[in-house]
């Protein structure tokens, strides 16, 4: 036995060395691998099932591309591809300029009430997309006050879909464009100023190019959202066929999962394309802002400020009118014949009908999603960014974390039903449980949360882990004592994002819920489908109220943390 070998230094070493793994490294690597397996299981496997099902017939016999040929041969279904694309493109072309001007007003003018205008512009996020559709029917439907504005055209169909989608996607576009505009360098404007550049030229040479990638990103997000959203066309689309509705009809109406898988794959394509465009832009976006920018400080300009203020007020008013109509609808007796105040949609329509339980299911699910989702997503981001080794597993994990953004919710949901209800799947006990809803929702909203976590972690000094190791402090201790407290604002932000989205999500869960786990947004859909518009509006109102409360709680908590536990941050700022 070479007992003394370890103390003798000059022993020739093999060409490739690895460090002896400490149990702590093993722990980190084990967790990393486990996360990989988890995401493969809850993201890749269901998607793979869709691929498999799309080339099989109902009895599981391989038929190649026959299902695709059949689908494309149906003229009505081919139309829905075209419809999906032109509607989504229209929404994108409307929303992005609207959001850009709004964001421009918020960042480049000295108008009053910026805080309030910003909050109002973000309210649509709190509501399920169905709310806007219901509200637009109330405004512009046969009995609507504003029906005359459509000049005889029907709100049911592309007009309604576009209007509702514009409402629902506006805040998403606004947030992205706002970030892009905030990131631009104030020094560029100072230089332009010193060169006596006219305002319009500054706009076209500095502002627009600076926000270019943000605009593209916003456009892609809006496009993907509209392509994948199923709630809006379901409620207001009338007989206007789009792909998301086709999947629903194939799966629910005709019980044809294989055809559903085919449509799912077709739906995947435009979203995937948008995702790739966005992703390649992201790289350039970061390159653009790598240097430290000086924030731009707007100067007063009465005419400009006033017109911007007027624009924002009009947009805000419109947004509030949409929300307001839904709330109003929930409190009247019988639209449109008896508009007296009544709580019967809440008492009779929700509580007595037993539908209220779906609201509590949603709350429960949203809490689980926020809790476990935040822990998992932040944990994985930490393992990716701050632990050493396993480059292959990390690359895989990065890819897996980015993928959900490219997968429409309905496609994911369909994959889940196909994968988890397969009799040979040992996990099929999860089918119809709250667990599967929570998992699907976490995966569905994974990418944004992941990016938030990664950004927060990247802002930390890279050497914390090295310092801890040199001080012989286990990595998890530093994780809990330093990483988590420092990233707390980002962690809370992820939790809020997941909660709010879990409250309104519909496309990922519409195939997965069971009656004991029915969710509020699905209940809205079902109630609307049954013509119970008042009760549907009441449920939507409950969702908006609860999400608002969570956001207020988040704001208060963040402020509390900033003043109490995050003293160091305040100290830093001073």
């Amino acid at each position: 036995m070479p007992t003394s070998a370890s103390t003798l230094p000059a022993v020739p070493m093999p060409a490739r060395l690895t460090l002896r793994a400490h149990w702590q490294d093993r722990l980190a690597q084990g967790l990393l691998l486990a996360s990989c397996v988890a995401l493969a299981l809850f993201l890749l496997a269901p998607l793979a099932m869709i691929l498999i099902k799309s080339v099989q017939d109902k009895d599981g016999v391989f038929v190649g591309l026959q299902q695709f040929r059949e689908y494309l041969a149906t003229p009505a279904l081919k139309e829905s591809i075209w419809n999906t694309l032109w509607v989504s493109t229209s929404v994108t072309l409307i929303v992005v300029p609207l959001a850009f001007v709004y964001a421009y007003a918020l960042t480049r003018s000295c108008m009053r009430g910026k805080g309030a205008l910003r909050v109002i512009a973000l309210t649509p996020i709190l509501a399920p997309s169905l709310l806007s559709a219901i509200s637009f029917i109330q405004w512009f439907g046969t009995q609507g006050l504003l029906k005359f504005m459509l000049g005889g055209a029907s709100i049911y169909g592309p007009i309604g879909i576009i209007m509702s989608a514009v409402y629902a996607t506006f805040p998403h576009a606004l947030m992205i464009v706002l970030t892009a505009l905030l990131l631009s360098d104030g020094r560029l404007y100072e230089v332009a100023e010193s060169l006596r550049t006219p305002t319009w030229r500054k706009f076209f040479t500095i502002t627009l190019p600076g926000a270019k990638y943000g605009l593209v990103s916003a456009a892609m997000v809006v496009f993907s959202y509209t392509v994948s959203d199923f709630g809006i066309p379901k409620v207001i689309g009338g007989n206007f066929n789009i792909l998301a509705i086709d999947i629903f009809k194939q799966v629910i109406g005709q019980q044809n999962f294989n055809k559903g898988a085919v449509v799912g794959l077709i739906l995947l394509l435009p979203v995937l394309l948008a995702f790739i465009v966005d992703w390649s832009m992201q790289g350039r976006l970061h390159a653009q802002f790598s240097a430290r920018a000086v924030p731009y400080v707007p100067k007063r300009s009465p005419w400009f400020d006033t017109s911007m203020f007027a624009y924002c007020c009009i947009v805000s008013l419109l947004l509030l009118l949409v929300l307001g109509m839904a709330i109003y609808t929930s409190f009247i007796k019988l639209w449109p014949y008896d508009k007296s105040f009544s709580l019967r949609h809440y008492t009779y329509g929700l509580i007595d009908a037993g539908v209220i339980s779906s609201f509590f299911n949603s709350l429960e699910m949203a809490l689980y999603v926020a809790l476990f989702g935040t822990i998992f997503i932040f944990g994985v981001a930490y393992l990716l960014e701050k632990t050493r080794g396993m480059p292959l597993a990390k690359s895989a994990l990065r890819l897996l974390a980015a993928m959900p953004m490219a997968v429409p919710g309905m496609v994911l949901g369909l994959g889940y039903i196909l994968f988890f209800n397969h009799p040979d799947n040992p996990l099929n006990g999860m089918y119809h449980t709250m667990t599967i809803l929570v998992l699907a929702t976490i995966v569905h909203y994974y990418t944004s949360s992941h990016l938030t976590a990664v950004t927060a972690l990247k802002a930390l000094d890279n050497e914390f882990e090295a310092v801890s190791a040199s001080l012989k402090v286990p990595f998890y201790k530093t994780f809990f004592r330093v990483t988590v407290p420092v990233c707390l604002p980002a962690i809370l932000d992820i939790g809020r994002y997941l909660f709010v989205n879990a409250m309104v999500t519909i496309s990922a869960v519409v195939f997965l819920y069971s009656p004991t786990t029915q969710l509020a947004a699905v209940a809205i859909l079902n109630m609307d489908e049954a013509g119970e518009v008042g009760a549907a509006a009441a449920m939507a109102t409950l969702i908006v109220v609860s999400s608002t409360l969570v956001c207020v709680a988040y704001a208060l908590l963040t402020r509390f943390l900033l003043t109490r536990t995050q003293q160091w941050r305040v100290a830093h700022a001073s």
Binding site: A15, L17, K477, V486, R569
Partner: protein, 370 residues
């Protein structure tokens, strides 16, 4: 300290009693890029060794390999008689300070310094007294309750140093510790670190790209370039006897003249023939002559030693205590030389551009390399 300062044979080294850190055959690649190639090095107990080199030369990689933060592809590291080559960082014995300070922003200064102590389950009183002692040591006795964000860069780096020393590690690693600081703070802190290191007699490896820092702090300097060690030696050796053109060029200012060897201890630079101390060169070989600017003698008022060469002052650059004087030698194909002259001399002799002078180039100061 100077007891341990012995020149080390670069190509081969073996551990001795005084050797604290023994590095042998360290090789590291990043893909196709060879970051380190067959690095051998011994660091004596209590010694402060500085890795000096341009960015990308592999000095930081070598430090991180010693720390176990990177893994070498081949090679051995023995620390204090223990082979640590394959030990993970957490199993090794060192304290480390980074350019970015890497202080935990959410912990007070006290908690930062105590970070490694708490983990050792020492008594609270023991920890308290140790933290106090360390804060005293780095000259910030009253800052325990503050947060890092409330302190200056220099103060933060002192705290980082205190944190690294808290557990009394056998080895202190400093990764460009002064690079993020402003010039005044940098000079002040390098003196402090050196004094502290000597007081505690802790073996220290520091990485820097700043030659002045290296010269002022090191017991020995390891000059690195492109993944290899160019030269190891005391600051004085490195400065006055650079072993390679790279070292000559990188450390301090130097004049380089391309020349052809002639017989009889002379060589030819353009149309000039210069005396050099080195003999035995085969006549006709191309050589390079290196001459420090301060070695050039300038004689303004006729009284010049024998062999002085006529030259014209091209320009005088005022640098405070010293001036850089650009000299055009009379002759064909001769380079412009730069001399370093004390301000008093410049003023006393009335050196100004356009003035014709004579200059002496001492043969013993002309180093022949390459």
């Amino acid at each position: 300290m100077s007891l341990h300062c012995r020149p080390v044979n670069v190509s081969h080294s073996s551990p001795t009693e005084q050797t604290f850190l023994h590095v042998a055959g360290i090789t590291k690649r990043f893909g196709k890029f060879e970051a380190l190639r067959e690095i051998d090095l011994d660091v004596g107990r209590g010694e402060l060794v500085v890795f000096l080199g341009p960015s990308g030369c592999g000095k930081t990689t070598l430090l991180r390999i010693i720390a176990g933060l990177e893994t070498q592809d081949a090679g051995t590291i023995v620390q204090d008689g223990r082979d640590v080559s394959r030990l993970p960082a957490i199993k090794r014995d060192y304290g480390i300070v980074f350019q970015s300070y890497a202080l935990f922003p959410n912990l007070t200064i006290h908690d930062n310094v105590a970070y490694g102590l708490v983990n050792r389950r020492q008594g609270r009183k023991l920890i308290e007294s140790r933290v106090r002692e360390l804060l005293m040591l780095v000259g910030l006795p009253d800052s325990g309750a503050k947060y890092p964000g409330q302190m200056s860069g220099g103060q933060q780096q002192r705290i980082a140093l205190a944190r690294a020393l808290a557990t009394s590690p056998g080895l202190l690693l400093l990764d460009e510790p002064l690079s993020a600081l402003d010039a005044i703070e940098r000079v002040r802190l390098r003196g402090e670190i050196r004094a502290l290191q000597q007081r505690l007699a802790v073996t220290t490896v520091m990485v820097t790209h700043d030659q002045e820092e290296a010269l002022s702090m090191a017991d020995r300097i390891v000059v690195m370039n492109a993944g290899r060690i160019e030269q190891v030696g005391t600051p004085r050796e490195i400065y006055s006897a650079p072993g390679t053109p790279f070292v000559a060029d990188f450390v301090g200012k130097i004049n380089m003249l391309t020349a052809i060897a002639e017989s009889g201890g002379r060589c030819r630079v353009g149309s000039l023939s210069l005396a050099i101390a080195k003999s035995g060169l085969v006549p006709g070989t191309a050589i390079r002559l290196y001459l420090r600017p301060e070695e050039i003698g300038i004689h303004a008022n006729g009284a010049a030693p024998a062999g002085a060469l006529p030259a014209r002052i091209a320009k005088v650059e005022f640098l405070g205590a010293f001036c850089l004087v650009g000299l055009e030698l009379a002759g064909d194909d001769v380079p412009v030389l730069v001399a370093n002259v004390p301000r008093q001399v410049v003023d006393g002799a009335g050196l100004a551009s356009g003035l014709n002078v004579r200059i002496s180039l001492p043969p013993e100061a002309m180093r022949v390399l390459g």
